[in-house]
Each structure stands twice: as structure tokens, then as C-alpha cells.
Amino acid sequence: MIKSNLLNSITRLLIGVGHRMIARVWRLGAGARLFFLTIIYSGESFRRFHLTLREIYFTGVMSLLIIIVSAFFVGMVLALQGYNTLQKYGSSEAIGVLVALSLVRELGPVVTALLFAGRAGTAITAEIGLMKTTEQLSAMEMMAVNPIARVVAPRFWAGVISMPILAALFSMVGVLGGYLVAVPLIGVDSGAFWSQMQANVDVRADIVNGVIKSVVFAVACTMIALFEGFDAPPTAEGVSHATTRTVVISSLTVLGLDFVLTSFMMVV
């Protein structure tokens, strides 16, 4: 009796896990289909570039403040913490290298992507989800306007254009923040700060790789936000769940992708 109960509950557990897995794979396929449709129908977002321009304004320009302020603080904290350790080994001049490399290689692209998912990704999901709830997308289809070409693709390209710019700004402002703490506040020599940085930061291996990372993150983050909005159940609850999922899935995807990309780029 007990044995069959146990067996039953295990079976139910396995069935539940299987159902969830199948649902995930289903969603993954739907997301991939949306991605290809977006690429196919993206002609209009370049022909009528003002559509994309408007989205760049909302996702990129409006995110400037949060990106710049957080980059400044991240750079300052990096310099303070780095100094703490480096000074024990008598090499506090290497603080510039530490700040620049960690920003350009990792923190710039990753933190920008996380902030972007929170600031712009949620907005995209909520907007498209609400458009679907209020049947604006269906109305477009009735008027023979392709909602993917008109709504999804411009937002996709706006995200892909904005994020590398934001990431580059993040790295640069972070380095300036680190400079501000290291040189006037702590008293590291300004010349050593910049020259050590320039000697150890390689344009191709570090800066270009950082830009590549931010482009990949941009595609992932924007696509996840768009898909969650497009796939949201047309209810208030559905949109709110979709917005939450956007942040969670984007963050996890960015961190996972970061590991994969870094391990690819580390190959000497």
C-alpha cells in the first residue's frame, strides 16, 4: 500500500517535470521562430528608420542616466576595493589596469545587460503585452499591417544598437570613476595609472571582445523581452508574470552566456 503510494507520487513528480520540460522546449522553439521572423521582417525598421529611432530614444537614451550613474559608482568601488588588496603587495599603480580590465571585459557588458533588462526589457514586455491585451496587435493584422515588422522588429534593432553603445559608455564612465577615486582621493600617480592601463589593455583581445559580448547580450535580452511580451497571456496577471520572467530569464541568460563567451575568448 505504502509502496504503491510512493510509486504514485514519484510518477506524478516525473510527469510534472516532463510536462514543464516540454513546455520550456515549446517556448524555446516559439522564441526561435519569433527571432527568425523578426530578422526576416526587419526590412521595414530600416526603410522607415524613424520607427527604430523612436525606440532607440526610449530604450537607449532614456537608459543613459541609470547607466552613467551606476557605472560611476561601480568604477569608484572597484578602485577602492582594488587599492585595498594591491597596496598590500606594493603595486597600487596597477589599480588602473584592474579597474579598466574588469570593466571592459566583464562588468561593462554584463552590468549594462542586467540594467538594460530591468530598465528597458521590462518596458518592452509590458508594452507589447498590453498591446496584445488591448487587441492592438490583432487590429494591426486586420489592417494588413504585420505586427512583427511594425512593432517587434524596430524594438529589436533599437535594443541591438543601443546596448553596445551603453556598454561602451559604462566602461568609459567607470574608468573615469575609478580615476577619480585612485588619483585625487587615494593619491596614486596619474601617469602610472594611465600608462599601466594602456600597457595592459589590448584593443583586440579586451575592448573588441567586450563589444562582441555586449552585442550578444543585446540580442539575447531584447529578444527575451520581446518574446515574453508577445507570448504573454492577454490578462493583467499574464502581463505582470511576463514582465517578471523577462527580468529573471534575461539575467540568467546573460550570466550564462557570459561564461560561455568568456571561455571561448580565453583560447590563446
Binding site: H50, L53, R54, I56, Y57, G60, V61, L64, A100, V104, S162, P164, I165, L166, A168, L169, S171, M172, V173, V175, W194, M197, Q198, A199, N200, V201, D202, V203, D206, I207, V211, V268
Partner: protein, 165 residues
């Protein structure tokens, strides 16, 4: 009206991005110092390159005159073949001596060139014959310990011999 305002902001945004990228390349990275301009290539065989890596600096009198292009292993002589690109502006005599040094105690390794006295200078594709490889710390320590041991042995032999008698 509204559109032109957005255009302006997006323009500022893109300009800021380009400026940040340029700033990263020029001020943070080594785009300016990495460009050697025209170079000529010479090779050198080392018994051991230690931690030398491609793109490591080649210095003479402390000035960067070139960069390491690539490092290969020669399976016939069991030596490391290091190809070096040297700036066209600098000519070195044929009997130049190539060493592998370490910057600081634990710093990165670089190739140091010490000019010889010959009149002919190195040309593209030439080979530097006089080389000294990297100093391997373990070898040095074991040599030091060996010397110490043999020293103390020779010193203590008569000392231990007398009390036993």
C-alpha cells in the same frame, strides 16, 4: 517637431557611444602604442622561453623596439623558435644578443636585445644566433641548494670527523 527632438537626442546618444569607444581605444587601450608601423622580422632560437607570450614587448635599453610575433617549437633541435618583429627605424648589428628577461620580480617576460659590434645589421628573415633563454626559478633554486649542500658537506666533514675520534 517631436521627431526632430528625438533625432537630436538619438544623435547625441550615438555620438556619446562613439566617443566612449574611441576613448576606450585611445586612452584605456594601447591602440596608439601597439602600432609599430613598418617592421622587419627576425627569428631567434631559445633553449627555454619560460612564460614568453606572443605580442610581448621586445626592448633594447628599456625602449620598446618591437613585439614577439609568434613562438614555435622546433622538433629537430628541441628549441623554441621565437619570431620577432622589429620596427624598421631601428637597425641592430648581426651579432646582437637576445635574452629573455622578466619585468620586475613576478612581472611579464620580454625579449631584451643587446647590440653587438658588427658593422652589418640584421635584415628581414635573419636569425639571431646568440641567445639566452629564460631563467627558470626552480632550476636556480635547485642549483643554489645543491651548491649550499656541497659547500656544507665539504665544510662539515672534518668537523664531524674529529669528535668521533
Amino acid at each position: 517637431m517631436e521627431r526632430t527632438k528625438i533625432d537630436l537626442w538619438v544623435g547625441i546618444f550615438v555620438a556619446l557611444g562613439v566617443a566612449a569607444l574611441l576613448g576606450l581605444a585611445m586612452k584605456v587601450g594601447n591602440l596608439t602604442s601597439n602600432n609599430l608601423g613598418k617592421t622587419y622580422s627576425v627569428s631567434a632560437a631559445f633553449e627555454n622561453v619560460g612564460g614568453l607570450k606572443p605580442n610581448a614587448p621586445v626592448k633594447s635599453a628599456g625602449v620598446v623596439v618591437g613585439r614577439v610575433a609568434d613562438i614555435k617549437f622546433d622538433s629537430k633541435t628541441y628549441e623554441a623558435i621565437v619570431n620577432i618583429n622589429i620596427d624598421q627605424r631601428y637597425a641592430f648589428p648581426k651579432d646582437t644578443f637576445a635574452n629573455i628577461y622578466t619585468a620586475g620580480l613576478l612581472g611579464e617576460q620580454y625579449v631584451g636585445l643587446e647590440a653587438g659590434g658588427e658593422d652589418d645589421s640584421l635584415k628581414n628573415g635573419d636569425k639571431i644566433t646568440q641567445t639566452q633563454g629564460a631563467v627558470v626559478l626552480e632550476k636556480m633554486i635547485s642549483k643554489f641548494l645543491f651548491n649550499k649542500a656541497s659547500e656544507s658537506e665539504s665544510n662539515s666533514e672534518p668537523a664531524t670527523a674529529t669528535p668521533e675520534n
